[in-house]
Symmetry: C2
Subunit: 561 residues, 2 copies
Amino acid sequence: MSNRKYAIGVDFGTESGRALVVDVATGQEIATVVHSYANGVIDEKLPESGVRLEPDWALQDPNDYLEVFKNAIPAALKQSGVAPADVIGLGVDFTACTMLPVKRDGTPLCFLPQFRNRPHAWVKLWKHHAAQPEANKLNETARRRGYRFLDRYGGKISSEWFIPKAWQILDQDPEIYAAADRLLEAADWVVWQLTGVETRNTCTAGYKAIWSKREGFPPNEFFKALDPRLEKIVDEKMSRTLIPLGQKAGGLTGEAAHWTGLLPGTPVAVANVDAHVAAPASTVTEPGRMVIIMGTSNCHMVIGNEERIVPGMCGYTEDGIVPGLIGFEAGQSCVGDHFAWFTENCVPAAYEREAAQRGVGVHQLLEEKAEQLKPGESGLLALDWWNGNRSVLVDVDLTGLLIGATLLTKPEEIYRALIEATAFGTRLIVETFRANGVAVNEIVATGGLPDRNKLLMQIYADATGLTFRIPETHQAGALGSAMHGAVAAGAAAGGYNSIVEAARHMARLRDECYSPIPEHTAVYDRLYAEYVTLHDYFGRGENDVMKRLKAIKAEARGAKG
Amino acid sequence: MSNRKYAIGVDFGTESGRALVVDVATGQEIATVVHSYANGVIDEKLPESGVRLEPDWALQDPNDYLEVFKNAIPAALKQSGVAPADVIGLGVDFTACTMLPVKRDGTPLCFLPQFRNRPHAWVKLWKHHAAQPEANKLNETARRRGYRFLDRYGGKISSEWFIPKAWQILDQDPEIYAAADRLLEAADWVVWQLTGVETRNTCTAGYKAIWSKREGFPPNEFFKALDPRLEKIVDEKMSRTLIPLGQKAGGLTGEAAHWTGLLPGTPVAVANVDAHVAAPASTVTEPGRMVIIMGTSNCHMVIGNEERIVPGMCGYTEDGIVPGLIGFEAGQSCVGDHFAWFTENCVPAAYEREAAQRGVGVHQLLEEKAEQLKPGESGLLALDWWNGNRSVLVDVDLTGLLIGATLLTKPEEIYRALIEATAFGTRLIVETFRANGVAVNEIVATGGLPDRNKLLMQIYADATGLTFRIPETHQAGALGSAMHGAVAAGAAAGGYNSIVEAARHMARLRDECYSPIPEHTAVYDRLYAEYVTLHDYFGRGENDVMKRLKAIKAEARGAKG
């Protein structure tokens, strides 16, 4: 044993899992290994049986998660040269809500031969969208009966969340529902596999399963109103015991120690959500600074001292990010996806040739050309609703809009307008938080985009008038999990007694940051005012043309078949 | 001399002139030759002197027009095998307003060495847009003083028209203005060169120079109010004698006979406008059928029995298309240009590769893909204002809008939405005519697009609910001019006594036509209602965001320089 102590973070993403070995004293990242899921996202047919899935389904194979433990952790350990005895704790974060039905002993139903060809026996991934009918009925029932828990979620429960997904199982395959002794987040399930102890974390329960520290779950009568068979779902399939973040779930079992190459008994933290562990890994453990995870979509998190109803936000949870404080969450459903769509569908061949000749990527070429433009110079303005609106309006039926095009409009101008639109969307989220008593004074941006797109970062700073900082880590999820592992170990073992303390030592910001340029912000203030006018006109019912176009589209597609 | 008689039409376009030899009895097109202008559109610098032009300028060299007579007519004659003695008449049509300053004997000022390096001495082409300040002052003055002639032009005189262009000469180069004994349309100038007789036609005067058969030109006091030096412009530089279409301007001079290879004295019709001669060439000489010339832009013409004020139309002129009737005109400033912009800026490299592999053009590939879509299926809707709005709103500061985009939106869906937007624009023009007492029951489409784009034609039929017919001729301008040549010759010489009679014999429609498909029209009715709502919201002052974006853009560009 050396003097130095280490923690391991395991970050479960959509396509792969990542293990990271971190120096507990300094936060230095020693080694990282990514292991891809063999079955990836299962959205066409089930493995082996080949049973076909309906559109909007997205499943996973829980065995792929175990393979991450068995492959990525030993490989990262080996790469790091760290002795197992110097690993004081392990933390795990996961996409959410990603949930599955299991037997009392934790065996996933899809591991059982009799259920292997039943889609509902598998893991429902966060982006499984087939429970929309159940979500609609749930929201309608809650509204009709006046349940106030909807307020915590911006007025609407998403089809991506726990109860709609559980209800879909019951609706479509009651035998699977009956056979499931437990329904739980994959996050909690993997911790169970490591420790042999079944726990439930407050973060996923609060953000995804309509739980709150003060009110608990909705009453049984609410579930009964949805479906009499759901009445006792919490007591029969879930748990009312929820463990706050940073607590120790248990120690590694002998079997898990064998998988991972770590010592039996190594402390494991309760599970967490990928976005939420990124906050402390980005140094944010206090009110006033917002963390944005910027990738295919944007996830905004900010910490508050007290509960606030913020219209159109995704949700808030006490202890959701940092124990004792309120974690607020909002999101934009189309950011990196937006630029990917544009690059794939709207960049002319001449640009591809120019990029090839110069040996740069198309995105880089676009960025260079767009960078030559001044704010407002394109005359374009867009609404960033290519994938609906997740926060403020919470409406998946809104669609994208571009205004101001002329015969001289160039692709890079459209590209820049799309970036600006997402920046205005973020500004509106920030202003909505502020208007409802949640302070946002500075932003820390993490995820894939901040590293890749400097133009985008400057536009965000200019368009919001806020300074954007960037954490040193490129893997905020895994680092945040390792930090929670160090907290689960505790100070006595060489770790920390709180995530705040862990963040002080293990998380850092880079020196360089993006500060708003006042002349740019002055122009963007004017464009933003136009954005808000259009946002409200098309988004708040004055002209529901987007919804009517969607309805006509659905009819036309129906008529086609 | 054979029994058969022929007429020649010469159609002066933007880049070239075309001569067509036509059988007068049948309308059969015997031979056609195109001659390109050596100096084309002069928009960067003057020939020889190299004097640089400001943005928005577009000039031409009148000698290029004479070269068309000297080259295209003899070549077409030769190709046709027709004897000069069998050519009974000649007609000419031109772009308008395309105007120039000349001496009393017809010599263009730009032919004189002392003026050759002076931009204002040259021909101002129709798309010369540098007289916008003069147009703005003219409109403001007319409105303030309550002149009702604005009503005939949809409320606004365009910067493309005669008086603003003449005034720009005076404003910027008073010496040229003073040296000009005449200011006239190039159309009238070329007829003067052929016949030695100076005439002015009613068509260009009515549509472009604020003249009407009943009221004549605006009074001198109006011109004086613009600028005291303009007070007597009509008497000093123009003419109050205007000759109706189909009249004989004169016979070919000996010199012109030498240029063309025709006989001296061959009757030449008074000049005409390219769009307006296309109407009889498309069989339209009576009320109720609209002619649309569909190319880079759309020009809509319809004939009425009586004057009507149709808000937002380009203008109407008694005898403007057919003597004794009212010719109404409207336009859309961005049609083929729209699709060209899209193809150049928004079609991804993958589509270009697919088109190349299949050996088809990109436009054809797009058309094939767009054809697979049903009306409404894309969920997209556009406002066709990429180049402003010419009719109904008459506002160059409006810009393009696309709504309904998602991450699954494909290029062919956008392409189709742009076509649909121009079709809705045409429908709104049709409905505005109808609402103001001008009947439109059927449409005849000519120009470049109807031949090239069947999908577009079907969408226009479906979106308007009207049948679209197509004339047999592919060169409606030149044919219409030849028809006017036959009318100038008269029945006694083997021609006709009226354009109506000429049309009956010389113009024909194809058998095939595009009829609206009721199920498509039912969907388009709903989309059109959305189009009108957005049209009015953005175009009639409720939200002037497009103008504000343009203002911000202008500031940003100004700040850049």
